[in-house]
Symmetry: C2
Amino acid sequence: MTEPGPAPRRKRMPRAEREQQILAAAEEVFAERGFQATSMDEVSARVGVSKPMLYEYFVSKEGLLLACVARIRADLHTATLEAIAGAGPDGPRAVLEAGLEAYFDFADRHGRAWAVLLNESVIVAGPAEEAIEAIRGQQTLLIQSALSRWLPSASPERVAVFAHALIGAGERVARWRLREGAGIKPRESAALLADAFWPGFAVAAGLAPDIPAGPGPGPGVPAGLAPDAPAGQDSAKRA
Amino acid sequence: MTEPGPAPRRKRMPRAEREQQILAAAEEVFAERGFQATSMDEVSARVGVSKPMLYEYFVSKEGLLLACVARIRADLHTATLEAIAGAGPDGPRAVLEAGLEAYFDFADRHGRAWAVLLNESVIVAGPAEEAIEAIRGQQTLLIQSALSRWLPSASPERVAVFAHALIGAGERVARWRLREGAGIKPRESAALLADAFWPGFAVAAGLAPDIPAGPGPGPGVPAGLAPDAPAGQDSAKRA
DNA sequence: TTCCTTCCCTACTCTCAGTAGGCTACCGGC
DNA sequence: GCCGGTAGCCTACTGAGAGTAGGGAAGGAA
């Protein structure tokens, strides 16, 4: 009735181009529905191609997700790298802040796709988990190498903890911004987070004197949190 | 010898008890396989009960996951609360460190279940995402209330960023410990992470002088950030 | 034209979340 | 004891969607 013609055959297209098309559609659907609720049929329909194509090009649903993640991570990498390179001459604190700002900015621009692809939908278990962790691990390595430039004498553990802390903090704060802190601009957020990390970094780098373990009970005793358990003394020590 | 009897009929059992059994089995399977790869059939088989039971008690697969998450979160909450209450009299730094140590310790004791239930398997999108975020929010609230005791004059945004940063850092570092940093004890990890956060906190609380934005290019030129690394596919410091 | 590579499709299979509908063990009350 | 009645339980299905088998045609090279 609508289609007198026999075959609605698709237009042929070079592989690379079709791959990009598929990735774009997949990113959309993943962002809308999340990994779990995304069906390969819907992705293929949106591209205007049949399901076996997706499998031909990306092996599995997880493979498709992985490709999306890799792509968006690469973009993020570029954006951040540019930002910190630009801030390089202004010293470590500026680099820290610029990197964070670029990150938040990226998250803002990509909205839900960022959240799904980089943080949440993580499929878990199986090879995909490894792969995603690996992609993340590369950033960690880079941060570590950047850090160790200023912390030449710090132990590897200290550097690693710092790097992972920075990553985790960034992710969570970005997520919070997406959900509730909408009003706060990337720049302000970056400044706030940098305020939290910079002093610790400066101390570790020997740019500032160590800060003693503070006074006893501060302004208000943490009473609200039920000071009743047997005091587990001393938790301060260094590695 | 094994079972001459005819009917493999299950033993009857009060609802609450069966629920606990199911939760225990589910936690096991989720930890082994991840959410995605866990089948309700396997969980039910492991409990020794039929599938419709799971649905009767937990509504859906996500519901089952949610119940597991809620349970383990509650335990974590209790453990942390006790730890920081015990350290209360020793001042903020001790509280920070004690809380972190309790967290890492908890993660160690629960192994993969912790990772899957609290961080990874998150299904995303839909009500489950909300529910999981809500449970997490509880932890954030705990930290925020503890923080604001010492930062009475800080803006809410600053406190929120601090709290989320702390949570994100904790999660990420714990995950790293689980995967590679096996040798590092909870106590040392807590000390290292506290070293990263404490100075920033002390500055914000007015317990230490502000730390200026440091010198220009430090020990190593921050130019490019990675003069050597061919930056194939990693990301810079982003966060 | 003919061949052959690359791109693409229809039409399945199989696993698994979720459901319909019924049975039975146990706890009262008589 | 006997007789409901309810709470706990099960077998046997449906439907959706991931992944596959096996073939067809466009377009370039010879």
